[in-house]
Symmetry: C2
Subunit: 259 residues, 2 copies
Amino acid sequence: MNTALLVAYDGTGFAGWQVQANAPTVQEALERALAEVFGVHARVTGSGRTDAGVHAAGQVCSLLFPESIRVSPERIADALNTRLPPAVRVLGSVRAPEGFDACRAAKRKTYRYSVYVSPREHPLFERYAVRVPQMPDLAAMRACASLLEGEHDFAAFSAAGSSAQTTVRTLYSVRVAEGEELGVPVLHMDFCGNGFLYNMVRILAGALLDAGGGRLTLSAAEQALRTGNRELLGKTLPAKGLTLLSVEYGFPLFERERG
Amino acid sequence: MNTALLVAYDGTGFAGWQVQANAPTVQEALERALAEVFGVHARVTGSGRTDAGVHAAGQVCSLLFPESIRVSPERIADALNTRLPPAVRVLGSVRAPEGFDACRAAKRKTYRYSVYVSPREHPLFERYAVRVPQMPDLAAMRACASLLEGEHDFAAFSAAGSSAQTTVRTLYSVRVAEGEELGVPVLHMDFCGNGFLYNMVRILAGALLDAGGGRLTLSAAEQALRTGNRELLGKTLPAKGLTLLSVEYGFPLFERERG
């Protein structure tokens, strides 16, 4: 039975999604729970890897669940949750179409990068957001966001060591929303695209903040897109501000869980 | 020099505000940082204790800083932050009026109790909020909130063992706000009052949720106020959903830090 899981995790204590030796990963936590609860030793395929420290509210993964084990797919979530560490929870489990592969079938992903605005560190924000000392110019951020939307070669917006065959990707939307939590201004930058290169969201978010802080002009951002020169852009932002919000497949998979 | 500090903390790892033997507390962390940075051994007086696991975005405390140490009061915050654990940060420091005592001078405090609505645990909400499986009836919650506002004997809304001389308190406002984070519905219950009994906010928040879930009628809540019978109300909610938002003194103290 091909099965899809909707998974949320607090990435703080994990060395990322993908199984690796001698470091806790989310994939390993899920595969271990599958083995402990059902005796199933199956590969859990995520929609994509997330890096060490990156969070997820809507990661999707797929696995082949043996037909010999009689369990309704909807019950797999609660069963796995009894054995998962508290930082990982399966929010939903469903039967997936035959041949469904959560990675290859992914059509769109949405990532959020969150920052809070404060002259000093605030312990209630440090876990899931990155601090900026002053409120950036939102109009400048949004002008840069518009520039980044669409199909571009994002070579300048990816870290070296990426194994992607092409660095062309499409950003369907880049949105900058301002809000307030506990009296502290917060900004959410949401990136929806057909795929993301290594570190791409963290470099994109950094570019938006640099635009909002007057450190990156629109023409420099344009030049980065045109030339693929990573050095025109600032540092890659920390992982902790990044959350995988959702993955879409072009057909309903977890509509109920998403409310 | 009488000094006031505006302090934020993530209460998860602390046995509360007040110094105690063999357990980490926020007060102890601040007093230790004072000793390490300035060689000052002073008592740090909070606006009130917070229990183990309770967070603060705007705790206020006062201390007598020796005149012999020449430092501008505004610089004390950054200096202390160099030695505090990451879960505690001083957001601001100012010279306070002579004789100012952060506890005795407190006129109003505002606490927030936060819940998120989800059929399953969500790891990105568990640290600062408590889960409710279904959306409560907000109109019923607000009707109960209105009932609780004003001056009442809150004996039924406090835990046994409270040493308060009177259980009469005034709630200036009780507000229920709904929002959404990461696609998940959240509710914030804000309680502003002239003082709070032991566990009072957690019992009040539980009563509002019980009202919203059809488990507490308005007349039962009224009866609890009238009779002081704790047994008419539900369980005390967990500490982790509770955050001390702000303390007011009737004169400006940290207006700049609060933005």
